[in-house]
């Protein structure tokens, strides 16, 4: 994991014990990951089907890679789950009610995603707190998603479209995840734009004085988020042959959890995209592993699994906070 230069300049002069703290800092997520992986792989009986089990989490991951960049700037996007639902419904309606070919309808969904994300960006640029702005659009986009089709899900897409749900035998979500991951790693860690992200998250005011185009950074990132949300929606429709208006409720929290568990600072300025991949691996395998384990432990119901995951997340968050204070 490469550390961008900004971080070292922003951090206080390293105390002698910092190196060992840094190492410890990484230990808990990795330990949890080992535990979760062990759970999953000791319980799984048909490992070849794990690919299917991963798909919903890969969707979360795709969104988390982009969310990492937004959180690095000190922002947040709570509307991401609603955007997935809305763009999915836009595509379905353009195809079913407007008679567009399915490819054009997918293009329409991408456009809707860019518009929805762009509106988030505009609101943030206009000075609204990202939390408030996207809390509002979360409700707005969800409401739109539910009203455009009268609350009904739309099913029955053409077979040629559904066939794209798998490429080379692998669910297409994996390919998209690879693309988005590479794209975001390049953007955040290997371009000037990426360094701007860190600068904005570190100190928005200072970045502005240093001629960093803060508005451009916000606008671009939130728009990308909308586009990626639309891509997730399109692939979701391919997989399930359905666009569901109340899909992805609560996804934003899973996405943010992946970013934070990975160790990216929620207040911005510090973190990385690969770290979110680690966070995703931890959370997803814990969830899957606990479901697997529940076939043996009857007290591990759907509700009590939430408790276990909640406690583990608190543990990681406390750990992160502690190690960040120390370093």
């Amino acid at each position: 994991m490469s550390r961008p230069r900004q971080e070292s300049t922003a951090a206080a002069p390293a105390p002698p014990g910092e190196r060992s703290n840094r190492r410890l800092f990484g230990l808990l997520p990795w330990g949890l990951l080992a535990l979760a992986l062990m759970l999953v792989f000791s319980q799984v009986r048909r490992p070849e089907l794990l690919v299917e089990v991963w798909v919903p989490w890969i969707e979360v991951g795709i969104l988390a890679f982009v969310m990492t960049a937004i959180i690095l700037t000190g922002g947040i996007d709570l509307s991401v789950g609603s955007m997935v639902a809305l763009t999915g419904m836009v595509q379905a309606i353009l195809w079913q009610d407007w008679g567009w070919p399915i490819e054009a309808a997918a293009g329409g969904a991408l456009l809707a995603g860019a518009l929805a994300g762009g509106l988030n960006g505009l609101l943030v640029v206009a000075g609204l707190s990202p939390l408030v702005a996207t809390l509002a659009t979360m409700a707005l986009y969800r409401g739109l998603a539910i009203t455009v089709a009268g609350g009904d899900r739309i099913v029955g897409f053409p077979q040629s479209f559904l066939d794209l749900g798998r490429l080379l035998g692998v669910p297409s979500q994996f390919w998209l995840a690879g693309l988005v991951f590479l794209g975001m790693v390049l953007l955040v860690h290997h371009t000037r734009f990426g360094r701007w992200c860190y600068a904005v998250g570190d100190n928005r005011q200072a970045a502005r004085f240093a001629a960093v185009p803060v508005n451009k950074v916000d606008g671009v990132l939130y728009t990308i988020n909308g586009l990626v949300a639309a891509s997730v929606a399109i692939l979701g429709a391919m997989r399930h042959d359905a666009s569901i208006p109340d899909a992805h409720i609560g996804t934003e929290l899973q996405v943010i959890a992946c970013v934070v568990v990975g160790g990216t600072l929620i207040t911005g300025g510090r973190g990385s995209v690969p770290r979110s991949l680690l966070g995703l691996a931890v959370i997803s395998h814990l969830d899957v592993g606990l479901q697997f384990l529940s076939s043996r432990l009857s007290w591990l119901t759907a509700e009590s699994r939430l408790i276990v995951i909640g406690i583990l997340l608190i543990l990681v968050a406390v750990w992160n906070q502690k190690s960040q204070k120390e370093s």
């Binding site: 230990l27 048909r46 089907l49 997989r239 569901i244 409720i249 939430l306």
Partner: protein, 341 residues
């Protein structure tokens, strides 16, 4: 400070190690039950009385047959969570997936994949799209015809028990206008009235949605608008208690007969105070029981149409792709305390 953190760190490292070892022990301690049939049963959601009752029945059957049962559903009635769980149980190598779909269409592709990967797929409580999902069988709680007819019979019986005569106006309070279960039941209710009680005059039914408040308001309006009203049905678990409450609040108990479909827990107070004399529903415990029994039987061989005994349930009717639990169950002041769902 520095020393303290390092010790703290070591301790935490040990903690991680301990957790790892504990997990290892935990999973080694689990019994290996490769030999038995493994059934994953997925309700629409967990944590509500109805699906707790179906779980009790399912567990009873699983104990009798010595099969491994996982009863696991989403905490909200959402299709995507059901899909996630089904994919998970498939990777866990379960032999049977028995699901009560929240959405008959959106879940169908997942069910078809599960079937193609070797699992026995069946639906209960609510069917999936039979062609798309290719599920083997639907365990149906009660034939729609029997529910429709029973509802009308209960009303006629109740009005006569009040000492009144049948001729007069009658009203059905349903849920949403598109709910397919309710619309089918109403079709059979009309059929029964036409054939057996032509003197009952049915008013245009109400569809206030699944909203207790609206159900109550619209029932209250109907109570004042139709002086000749003799009886009201509430045919969803939301509308039935709302209708009973509206009738009680309007002091029409004893003049307006109220019956419908609901669960004993929610209707108990109305039965005790006399607002409702009798109502019906299928027994959800039996539904869960039958589902596991059917899955077990299907794993042993085929199930051609006919009548079968499934454990304590005798003479259950099996049709092409459908198993019928049997006629609905009637509840009144005498037996309502025997049921807790």
């Amino acid at each position: 400070m520095k020393r303290g953190t390092i010790i703290g760190g070591r301790r935490s490292g040990r903690f991680v190690l301990a957790v790892l070892l504990a997990a290892l022990g935990l999973q080694c301690a689990g019994p290996d039950r490769d030999a038995t049939l493994r059934i994953a049963m997925i309700p629409k959601l967990v944590g509500i009385g109805y699906f707790e009752a179906t779980e009790r029945g399912a567990r009873e059957a699983a104990r009798e047959l010595n099969v491994e049962l996982v009863y696991d559903g989403p905490t909200d009635a959402r299709t995507e969570d059901q899909i996630k769980m089904i994919d998970g149980w498939m990777a866990q190598g379960f032999d049977v997936i028995a699901v009560a779909p929240n959405d008959p269409e959106a879940i169908s592709r997942t069910l078809r994949s599960a079937g193609e990967r070797g699992a026995l797929v069946l639906t209960w409580d609510t069917d999936a799209n039979p062609e798309l999902s290719r599920r083997s069988v639907f365990v149906n709680q009660a034939p729609n015809r029997a529910i429709g007819h029973t509802l009308v019979d209960l009303m006629a019986e109740g009005v006569r028990a009040q000492g009144a005569s049948l001729p007069g106006d009658y009203l059905i309070v349903s849920g949403t206008p598109t709910a397919s279960n309710q619309n089918t039941w109403m079709k059979y209710m009309r059929e029964r009235i036409r054939e057996k009680y032509p003197e009952m005059h049915l008013l245009q039914h109400l569809t206030p949605g699944e909203d207790q408040q609206k159900c109550q308001e619209q029932t209250a309006e109907a109570l004042s608008a139709y002086p000749n009203l003799k009886g009201i049905w509430g045919i969803t678990s939301v509308s039935f208690p709302a209708v009973a409450k509206a009738v009680r609040d309007a002091n029409k108990v004893g003049q307006i007969e109220v019956t419908g479909l609901g669960m004993p827990e929610q209707m108990r107070e109305f039965v005790k105070d006399g607002t409702v004399r009798k109502f019906c529903l299928w027994d959800p415990v039996d539904l869960g029981y039958l589902t596991i029994r059917v899955a077990h039987r299907l794993k042993q061989g085929t199930l051609p149409p006919g009548r079968y005994d499934f454990g304590r349930l005798k003479g259950v009717e099996v049709r092409e792709g459908e198993v019928l639990l049997g006629p609905p169950l009637n509840f009144d002041a005498d037996n309502i305390d025997n049921y807790n769902f």
